[in-house]
């Protein structure tokens, strides 16, 4: 799970793995590891601390990744703009692995995502999902889609 801070990486993971959600923002320090079975595949989710003004993504946490979920906040356009540079960091470290994109907080009234961005992501071969960790919207599809690509 890669993306800017406070976009909902942990929330998506927790919703998917444990079906829980909390509105409270708790920053992730380092990386949190969770595992879940998708069909017959055991998926180990590395919920990596978000990129923030103090620290870049720690690329050590990306090593060995078989697929990437880029997460952006649909109410903060800068977090979606950030995905391209995050991709460069990622591809350096792990190569051209399968990618899905979660545009999270789709339930929020301030949602503002340009269709150009979605088209750009699709052109890179990324599946884009409007997700809501809060409502559970597309959370399952997001992970299942990635697993499907990785297999």
């Amino acid at each position: 799970m890669v993306g800017d801070f406070a976009v909902g990486k942990t929330s998506l993971t927790q919703k998917f793995v444990n079906n829980v959600f909390s509105d409270k923002y708790l920053t992730t320090i380092g990386v949190k590891i969770d595992s879940v079975m998708v069909d017959d595949t055991k998926v180990i989710v590395w919920d990596v601390a978000g990129r923030d003004s103090l620290s870049p993504i720690n690329a050590n946490y990306l090593v060995g990744a078989a697929g990437i979920v880029f997460v952006g906040d649909g109410t903060r356009p800068s977090t979606i703009d950030a995905m391209s540079s995050l991709w460069e960091t990622t591809v350096d470290r792990v190569g051209d692995v399968p990618v899905v994109v979660a545009l999270n907080k789709h339930d929020h009234p301030d949602w503002s995502v340009s269709s150009e961005q979605i088209i750009e992501f699709s052109n890179r071969g990324w599946d884009v999902f409007n997700t809501s960790a809060k409502e559970g919207e597309n959370v399952k599809s997001l992970f299942e889609s990635l697993v499907h690509k990785m297999n």
């Binding site: 180990i44 620290s55 301030d110």
Partner: protein, 505 residues
């Protein structure tokens, strides 16, 4: 990072007991070769020699172990933050697990705060831009509302204007009829006139209101004698008070000739409105007006013992079109709104204090800078006549006739006034005058015809024509008929006397 096994051993020797770190040793197939005793403390419970570590530890899956590698902050199976360091050698990998709780807390405090701050900043920016947007939206709405209000008031004034003209003509004709009507008709006609007047004043209010909304009301301040304004107002409203058992008094604190600069007609309007209301809503008791002038500020209070206004209604009373329910009084509900706005324009404020059933006090102040009274310019020393002149004046307009008569009488001239040319001709047959003043436009017999009859009868009394229009003043014709001079109205009494002096010798 280049720790060798000796070093690891050293570390384990010295620090195991303090439980700050644990370790295990794997071969290249992830098989556990050796494990420290304290691994359980970190939750690695099943990590025994011989097992495949990737079955037990998720974070090992997919890790490249051919190189030095470190996971600086990761959760242990027990849920505690740990630092994991991979130290590969030729055929083994040492995995060192260190307690990272302190580091975790340090980072967490720092990062949570920093991220929260940044989120707040983002929210703040968003809010600011929302406020900005809302402001622009409001401004737009405001413009639309203003336009709507402008349309409404221009509609109002348009309609009012259309009403006013025919209404004024009804009033005008009523007036004309009143002049020669018997008593019964006069009563009916007076009622018609009152009703029309009331209707007209409602329309005037609507018009004024519209003008305020489109900023068309302009003040026209001029030198004004305050006493005159108040006596005018008294003349107008006293009859209203006298129809009820209301004791009406006006008290003022200034000297007789007190001149101030203000728009007297607007002040009159305000006074009539406020005092009129006081009388309207007072059925018995008194309406007391007290006016004082101090430091160029005119203060007026109008106190009545009328029905009063409830606290709830007092809040609404100045709103346009608002009227107290159940008072049985009619109106547009605009009078007070307009009055207040005029008062504000005149640099003052209106204040209403009332208790229901006891009475109401409306007070206001307006700027009233005093000036020295403007004396009429000293006229030239007027020609004095040795004897008293006698003048016959033919003039159908009473306003003019009275004024000229008075002005001449003040100069010691005797004046006889007749209302048309025929009467003048008749009068001259029986009486001698020093001078004839002849208006041109008159009923029955006009000025020119009268002059021609007078001269035709051989009368040589000097005749001076008075006419309202220079265009109509046909000097040639006047001379031809035998007139001795003529004056264009407004007639200056000094000119008149000068002409008289030349003619009467």
């Amino acid at each position: 990072m280049s720790l060798n096994q000796d070093r690891v051993a050293e570390i384990s020797q010295s620090l195991f007991d303090r439980r700050q770190f644990a370790y295990f040793l794997l071969d290249t197939q992830w098989c556990v070769l050796e494990a420290s005793n304290n691994l359980q403390e970190f939750g690695f419970s099943n990590l025994e020699v011989g097992v495949d570590a990737t079955d037990e530890i998720d974070f090992l899956v997919g890790i490249d172990i051919s190189d030095n590698h470190e996971l600086s902050m990761i959760s242990s199976p027990a849920g505690d933050p740990i630092r994991v360091t991979f130290i590969p050698s030729v055929s083994t990998i040492t995995v060192v697990i260190m307690d990272a709780r302190q580091e975790f807390l340090r980072q967490k405090q720092l990062q949570q705060k920093a991220n929260e701050n940044e989120l707040l900043l983002g929210t703040q920016e968003k809010l600011l831009s929302e406020i900005e947007e809302a402001k622009i939206k409001l401004e737009l709405q405001n413009v639309e509302l203003q336009e709507a209000a402008r349309l409404q008031s221009s509609f109002l004034s348009g309609v009012s204007h259309e009403f006013r003209t025919p209404l004024a003509s009804i009033m005008g004709y009523t007036n004309l009829l009143l002049k020669d009507s018997d008593e019964t008709s006069a009563n009916y006609l007076s009622a018609m006139k009152r009703s029309s007047k009331h209707l007209l004043s409602l329309i005037e209010n609507l018009l004024d209101h519209g003008k305020f909304d489109s900023n068309e009301i302009m003040l026209n301040p001029k030198s004004t004698e305050l006493a005159e304004v108040f006596s005018d107002v008294e003349l107008l409203v006293r009859p209203l008070a006298e129809t009820k058992s209301v004791n009406f008094t006006i008290t003022t604190d200034w000297q007789a000739a007190c001149f101030v600069v203000l728009d007297d007609s607007r002040l009159r309007q305000c006074l009539i409105n406020i005092i009129g209301n006081a009388i309207k809503f007072t059925d018995q008791g008194r309406v007391t007006v007290v006016a004082s002038l101090k430091d160029d500020d005119l203060h007026v209070s109008v106190e009545d013992t009328g029905i009063g206004v409830s606290e709830e209604h007092l809040k609404k009373i100045k709103q346009p079109f608002w009227q107290a329910p159940d008072t049985g009084k009619s109106g547009t509900g605009l009078g007070l709104t307009i009055t207040e706005r005029i008062i504000e324009m005149m640099g003052g404020a209106l204040d209403i204090d009332s208790s229901e059933g006891v009475g109401t006090t409306v007070s206001f102040n307006v700027m009233a800078p005093s000036i020295e009274p403007t004396f009429h310019q000293e006229a030239q020393v007027l020609t004095q006549f040795n004897r008293s002149l006698s003048v016959l004046m033919a003039e159908d307009d009473e306003d003019i006739a009275f004024l000229v008569t008075l002005l001449l009488e003040e100069q010691g001239v005797k004046v006889v006034h007749v209302a048309n040319g025929a009467l003048a001709v008749d009068r001259l047959q029986h009486e001698d005058f020093d001078l004839v003043l002849m208006d041109l436009h008159m009923p029955v017999l006009n000025g020119y015809d009268a002059v021609s009859q007078i001269r035709g009868a051989g009368n040589t009394t000097p005749i001076v024509i008075m006419t309202a229009s220079a265009i109509e003043a046909d000097k040639g014709r006047a001379q031809e008929l035998g007139c001795d001079g003529y004056l264009v109205k407004p007639v200056d009494i000094a000119d008149l006397l000068n002409i008289a002096q030349q003619l009467v010798t």
